[in-house]
Every structure is written in C-alpha cells, then in structure tokens.
C-alpha cells in the first residue's frame, strides 16, 4: 500500500463537508507529517490482549524516554549555541517520536500490527520527520513555555505518547503532560474513549470504525507534532488543522456541517463570550423542556409507523441546529451572536440535517441505550472544545482572529455533537461519525459527477 500524505493548507475561511481538498503543495508540507495506510482490519485476538501485549513496549519506551530526555537537553543547548540540532541526536529523538506514534496507534487500536522496537518507518500509522533545520534561538530557549498551549490540546486529544509516566485510559491520570519529569506512553482524552469503544467494536466486527480510527490517528499526529516541537525536532508550531491528515475521506452522513466563518473575531464579543451566551443558555433550557416532550412523541410515532412526523422532525432539527450554533458561539468556533430559532443557514457554522425517511424500529426502540457510546465520545470532544475555547479566547483577544486549526477541530466537535443529538432525537438513524475531517475526497458518485460538470455541489457554502 502506497503511503499517502497529507497536508494541503486549505482555504480556511470556507470549508464544507464533502468538498475535495485542494492539491497538496510542497511548500505547505509540514516538518512532521502523519502518514496513514491502515486498512481498519483488526485481528480480534490481538485486540483482546492488546494492553498486555504492549507491556514490553511500555517498559522499553520508558527507558528510551529517559535517554530521549537527556538527549533533548543536549539538543537544546546545541540549538541555543549553534542554532541547529546535531543530525545524529535529531535522528535519535525523531526515532523516539516515531516509535511513540507507533505504540500510541497500537494501543489506541488505530493500527493493527505489533510495532517494532526501533521506530523504523513503515508502520500503518506513522510520521515523517524532516532533517534538522535552523531554529531561532529565542524560540528554542523558551520552547517549553511556548509549547504549553499545544500540550494542553494534545492532552485533551490524548494523542500524547511521551508525557506520562504510566499507561492509562483515564484522562485524569495524565499527570505531567507539560513536563519531562517522567517519560513513557500515556493515552487519555478522546483517544482513550476511542480505544475503549474501538475495543468492543473490533472484537465484534473485526474492524475499527473508520471515523474513530481517523480521530485517533489525527490526535496521535497532533501529539507527534507537539512533542516534536517541544523536543526541538522542529521550530514549526503544531497545527490542529484536521485537513493536514491524509487521505481524508468523509463518509456520507445526513447531518453535515457548513463552515463559512471568516475567522475574524470582535475582541469585545470574545471577551464577554460566556456572559453573552447566558440568555441563549436560558432559552436552551426552556426549549429542552418542549423538546423532551416532542422527542417522546416522535419516538412513539417512529415505533408505530417507522417514521417521525415531519412537523416534529422540523422542530427537533431546529433545536439541534440551535444547539450547534450555540456550541459554535460559546467555544469561539463561530464569531457572531447566534439567533434563537435555529434557522437553517443563519449562522456561519451551520449544520444541515437531511429529513429522515423510514427508520428501523429496533434501533428506534433502543435509541437511548445505543446513543451511550456516542455520548461518551461527545464528552471527549467536549473536552477538546473547552480547550479550543480557552486557547482561542486568548488568541482572538490578542490577534482579533481565531486560529484556523483550532476553529476547524472545534467545528468537527460541533458537528459530532450535532450528529449525536440528531441521532438521539430521532433526526436520523445513522450513527454519529467521529471523523475530525471537515474536507475530504468526494465519495458519492453524484457529487463526483457534479464536480466533473463544474456544478457547485454544496451551493452557497463554497
């Protein structure tokens, strides 16, 4: 399988589900790039024993981590004096980072084969790391401080692999993600939830769900960028832009997101963002009461007829859209103050919900229980959104703009929440898809035909 990489710097001001990525440009390639060639097939036996099988690796990465820490200190001194890391030491740390990616992917079920112990390239979830480049001395001198925001995001994503001294699937046990106090592998945050859910899914189906695999790979890739930056492999700041992961394929889903946000932010509305949202919160609470009743009626109707009546469907869809607008506003993914009605197309971060047709009665009957895993993952995305909001708040206050990478991973979180709510409220019986991509290769034949004919497939948003 040919490794295919990454990295178009996409148009950050306009992006939509199912818009094909622009052509990768060599100039835009980042120094640490994620390469995913995994086919999602999993061996049930190795999945079942995955944690135990990884024990030798955990011991090994701990030892390697101690050495890498010492080497990183030498590299730090070298960069301070010479402006560049020695090639041999750079290679040593690069191998360590790569090995961490392999092990992280293995533990998170983002890849199947047992990884090697040397961090050699070629693993199904891998990183390519450029040779040493000249680095600014000031940036290197304060590297750890500068890395703190990225480390925060890496922590909630849980794709870190060098930060913790223990292996844990509990985000709360990620004890020293911002220090080099102890080195090893740690999985937390979103990736921990993906690993937990993926474990059951792989045992049942022998495959890792594509969306969850993509999310885990993205998180691990971001962790690699972050620790590569902290360990002086590169001076390029990590980017959380999901479009940097390739190949990005978007599954068809009836709940889609449209992003037409220009990234500019009014500092005043950013400063008071949470307080400005208070009336929206109150309104959401009041609306929720009516929605609970409507959802129950919709559930009864769907059980009886296999369909949700259109008026109820429209009412529930408006609520899902309103909450998506609210999420986007509160977490700074969107700029303007949203409306109270959840009107379609009224907000630059908008969700489109295709009207649901016939729904399977069995799925409808147990919808609440079936939604539990999606809610778990939504809580993970919630942590990511929180960090996006905190980092974005400072960034937007200083620059008057929201960083595009943060905005985009935030938009992915808003979409996942919307898909989960739509699923729970019978807006669709399609299970939420965890993929972090906002743009991807067109997969529907109709869309491909439209593109060939030069027809804009998504109308106003492109």
């Amino acid at each position: 399988m040919t490794p295919r990489l990454l990295v178009p710097r996409a148009q950050h001001n306009v992006c939509v589900d199912a818009v094909p990525p622009s052509a990768p440009s060599r100039a835009d390639l980042r120094p640490i790039r994620l390469v995913v060639t995994d086919d999602c097939e999993r061996s049930r036996l190795t999945v079942f024993f995955r944690g135990i099988l990884a024990v030798p690796h955990l011991v090994w990465i701990l030892l390697w981590g101690v050495a890498a820490f010492a080497v990183a200190f030498v590299v730090w001194l070298a960069v301070l004096f010479e402006g560049r890391a020695p090639r041999t030491l750079h290679g040593f740390i690069a191998s360590y980072v790569r090995y961490g990616v392999h092990l992280g992917a293995y533990l998170a079920l983002a890849a199947n084969p047992y990884p090697g112990f040397t961090g050699q390239p070629g693993y199904p979830v891998d990183v390519e790391i450029d040779p040493p480049q000249t680095q600014g001395r000031w940036g290197a001198g304060f590297r750890l401080v500068l890395a703190v925001p990225a480390l925060l995001l890496a922590t909630v994503l849980g794709g870190g692999f060098q930060g913790g001294g223990s292996t844990s699937v509990d985000p709360g046990l990620w004890t020293d993600g911002t220090s080099f106090g102890s080195l090893g592998t740690s999985i937390g945050g979103v990736v921990a939830i993906v690993a937990l859910l993926g474990w059951f899914s792989c045992l049942a189906r022998g495959r890792m769900p594509r969306g969850m695999r993509d999310l885990a790979a993205y998180a691990i890739g971001y962790g690699a960028q972050t620790y590569g930056y902290a360990l002086l492999l590169t001076s390029r700041y990590p980017s959380s832009d999901p479009s940097l992961v390739h190949p990005a394929e978007l599954p068809e889903h009836p709940v889609r997101i449209t992003v037409t946000d220009p990234l500019r932010r009014s500092r005043l509305t950013v400063f008071f963002r949470l307080l400005l949202a208070l009336p929206l919160f109150v309104w959401a609470m009041l609306w929720t009461v009516a929605v609970a009743l409507a959802a129950f009626l919709a559930w009864l109707a769907a059980l009886a007829t296999g369909r949700v009546p259109r008026p109820l469907q429209r009412f529930l869809a408006a609520f899902v859209r309103f909450l998506a607008h609210l999420d986007a506003f509160v977490y700074l993914v969107g700029g303007p103050f949203p409306g109270f009605t959840g009107a379609a197309g009224s907000y630059p971060i908008d969700v489109t919900i295709e009207p649901a047709g016939q729904q399977r009665r069995l799925v409808t009957c147990f919808r609440l229980f079936l939604a539990v895993p999606a809610f778990l993952l939504a809580s993970g995305y919630g942590g990511v959104l929180l960090v996006v909001a905190v980092l974005g708040w400072f960034a937007a206050l200083f620059t008057g703009r929201m960083p595009s990478g943060l905005r985009d991973i935030g938009a992915a979180g808003v979409r996942y929440n919307a898909q989960t709510r739509a699923y729970m409220l019978l807006g669709t019986d399609r299970y939420p898809n965890a993929t972090p991509f906002l743009r991807g290769k067109a997969r529907s034949e109709e869309l491909a035909l439209n593109l060939e004919l030069g027809v804009d497939p998504v109308g106003e948003a492109t």
Partner: protein
C-alpha cells in the same frame, strides 16, 4: 392623577408638627469619629461622581458608535438588540472596574469590608452575568412589544416591568440564604411590636454576612405571605445592646406595617410610565425600540433618567425610613436604644452623621444619622408631660 397618587403615597405616620432639635454632632458621635467618617465618605463620593461621569461619557460614545456591533450578530431583531444591550453593559462594567476597585481598596483600608480583591472580582462577574440576563429580559419585553404595538409599547411595557418588580419582591426572601433568629427575647419583642402596629406575625431571619463586612444592617422584604424581616448577623454579634437591636426590629416591622414595599412598587410604576414614554420619544430617530439600532442610545437614555430620578427616589426612600423610625420609637418607647443604634452605625460603618446637603439630596436613602438621633430626642420631648 399622578400628583394625587403621589400625595396619597406620601402620607405617613410622622406628626406634621414634628420639629427636629439641633444635635451637637461632635458631642453625640465623638469629634474624632465624625472627622474619620467625613474623610472616609468623601473619597467614596468623589469616586462615585467620577464613575458617573465616566459612565455617561462611555454610554455617549456607545450610543454613537455601538451600532457597528450589529455586524457581530447573526440573530434576528430582538437577539441583536439583546447582544447590543449586553455589550453596552459589558463596556460599562469594564470602565467602572477601576472605580469599584478603588472603593474596595478604601473600604479595606478602613476595615469596613472583609471582601478580598479576588472574591470581589469573581462576585462581580456573577453580578454582571445577572445584569446581562436582566437586560436581555428587559429588551425582550420592550422590543417584542415595540415590534407589535410600535410607539404604544411604553404603556404595557411599564406595566410589565412593574409586574416583574412585584414578582422579584415576592420571591426575594427565597433568594437569600437565612436561618431563624434564635434569640427568644428578640422574637418575643417582635411579636409585641407586630401587635402594636396592627399586623400579623412576620418571620424573623438572620443572614450571615460577617465574612464580607462589619457593617450592621437589617431589611424588610417580601410581599404578603412571603414577608420577612432579615437581620444581618453583624447586628446581633454583641456590638449593639438589646435596646438597639429591638429598635432595628421595630423599624423593620414598621416597614411592613406601613406597607412600604407595595408603596415602593407603586412609586416604581409611577416613575416607569413617564420614563418609558421618554425612552420611546428619544429613540424615535433610531427607528424606535423595535429596532436594534436604538438599543445603544436607549442605554444612555436610561442611565440619564436614573441619574435625574435619583434625588426623587432618595427623597421617597428617606420619607419611608423616617416613618419607620418614628413607628419604631412609638413601639419600643426607647429613645436611648435608638440613639445607641444610630451612634453604633456611625462607628461600625463609618457613616458620616451629617453629610453635605447635596450629597444627602442625591444619595441619601435614609435620614442622616444626626437627624435620626434628633428624631429620638424629639420623641422623648413629645412624650415628656
């Protein structure tokens, strides 16, 4: 009709013939305390004046330029109006912060508050959140009515605000954490005062504020079945003698027996109606209150109206407090207890016993401490055969 209603509301139990004797302030309160209190209040008043000037200046600028923030809204007419209203309050809050911090610094320096800077800043955020919700609700009512009734919104609008004020007054006892008063003697005294003033039993509660301030205070709250008298725990911590504490209770019971809370609501309605009309007239050139463009200007208009109405509101409040003082004296028959209380207020809160006339006119919601002592003296004289 307005004047007739006002005259009716201003009727009270204080004898028309009452003439307050002159009180030797230095002898009554102590020259040193008076000087300290004057210095203390002078700073706070100057701080307040500058804060008001800055407030009006900022609202003036916001009234002129705030419309540009409409671009930051994807909401409809009312939602955008709410956002503009909240942003206006947010800006005001930001520019008022230094004055609030200065006042807190001054109070901490004089040990009249225990609140720390962090606690103040955090509490201020909560208060700001509450004011954001309040202005959102107000704008929702006004803009919805204006969208429907156009220039006639001010009549039902004023009524709606009075209704909300009445609701808040009714539920306010439940919004404060209190516990029953444990002192059986004071409870027994309260029952006597209630009988004497001709009203039913009113629960006595205690609110813990000693962690925040050393000021002593009490207040009457609630309407009908929710009526309460709430004492701050700083009032019953032993610094005041039994007579002073009984005077406070009799005073608060008098607020209820004189129906001061319903009367306050009536006054609110009487001010709200012309104020709403004025708001309607002055926001016409911005499209009226149905248009979000009018909201920044409306904030300025409301601030000016509040400032202009302040002397009248203070005068009404002073009249009610005076009546409560008089009824308390009549119930307790203890002018020495009242005197002890008012001197104690000056000591614990560093209140100026005799502030400048303009200050009292603008900000004095209670009679001056000197006047309150004078009333106790006057009552004693009137009771002496």
């Amino acid at each position: 009709m307005w004047v007739a209603t006002a005259r009716l509301l201003l009727e009270d139990a204080v004898p028309d013939s009452l003439a307050l004797p002159r009180v030797d302030i230095d002898a009554t309160f102590g020259a040193e305390l008076v000087e300290d209190a004057r210095r203390y209040e002078r700073f706070l008043v100057i701080d307040w004046i500058v804060a008001q000037v800055v407030l009006l200046a900022v609202l003036w600028v916001y009234a002129k330029r705030g419309v540009r923030f409409i671009a930051q809204s994807a909401a409809g007419r009312i939602g955008t109006g709410m956002m503009l209203g909240m942003l206006g309050l947010g800006i005001v809050w930001l520019v008022q912060l230094p004055f609030g911090a200065a006042a807190l610094w001054w109070e901490r320096r004089h040990d009249t508050t225990e609140i720390g800077y962090l606690e103040w800043a955090f509490g201020d955020w909560l208060a700001l959140g509450a004011s954001f919700l309040a202005i959102s609700l107000a704008l929702l009512i006004v803009m919805a009515l204006a969208g429907w009734l156009r220039e006639w919104w001010w009549i039902p609008g004023a009524g709606a605000f009075v209704a909300i004020a009445a609701l808040l007054t009714f539920v306010s006892p439940y919004l404060v954490e209190t516990k029953p008063l444990g002192d059986a003697g004071l409870v027994q005294a309260a029952r006597e005062y209630e009988r004497e003033q001709g009203i039913g039993e009113i629960p006595l509660r205690v609110e813990e504020v000693s962690g925040d301030t050393s000021d002593a205070n009490a207040y009457a709250t609630g309407l009908g079945p929710t009526r309460r008298v709430i004492l701050w725990d700083t009032l019953i911590d032993g610094r005041f003698d039994d007579g002073a504490e009984r005077t406070v209770i009799a005073h608060e019971v008098a607020h209820h027996s004189s129906r001061h809370l319903p009367k306050s609501l009536a006054w609110f309605g009487m001010f709200a109606l012309p104020a709403a009309w004025l708001l309607m007239r002055l926001t016409r050139r911005r499209g009226g209150m149905q248009a979000p463009e009018a909201v920044p200007l409306a904030l300025l208009v409301v601030a000016v109206i509040q400032l202009v109405a302040a002397p009248f509101q203070s005068a009404i409040s002073r009249s009610m407090e005076m009546e409560a003082d008089w009824k308390a004296l009549t119930s307790t028959r203890d002018p020495e207890g009242a005197r002890e209380l008012f001197v104690g207020f000056a000591e614990t809160g560093l209140g100026d016993p005799s502030p400048p006339g303009w200050q009292q006119l603008l900000l004095g919601t209670h009679p001056t401490l000197a006047d309150r002592v004078a009333m106790a003296e006057a009552w004693k004289v009137m009771r002496t055969p």
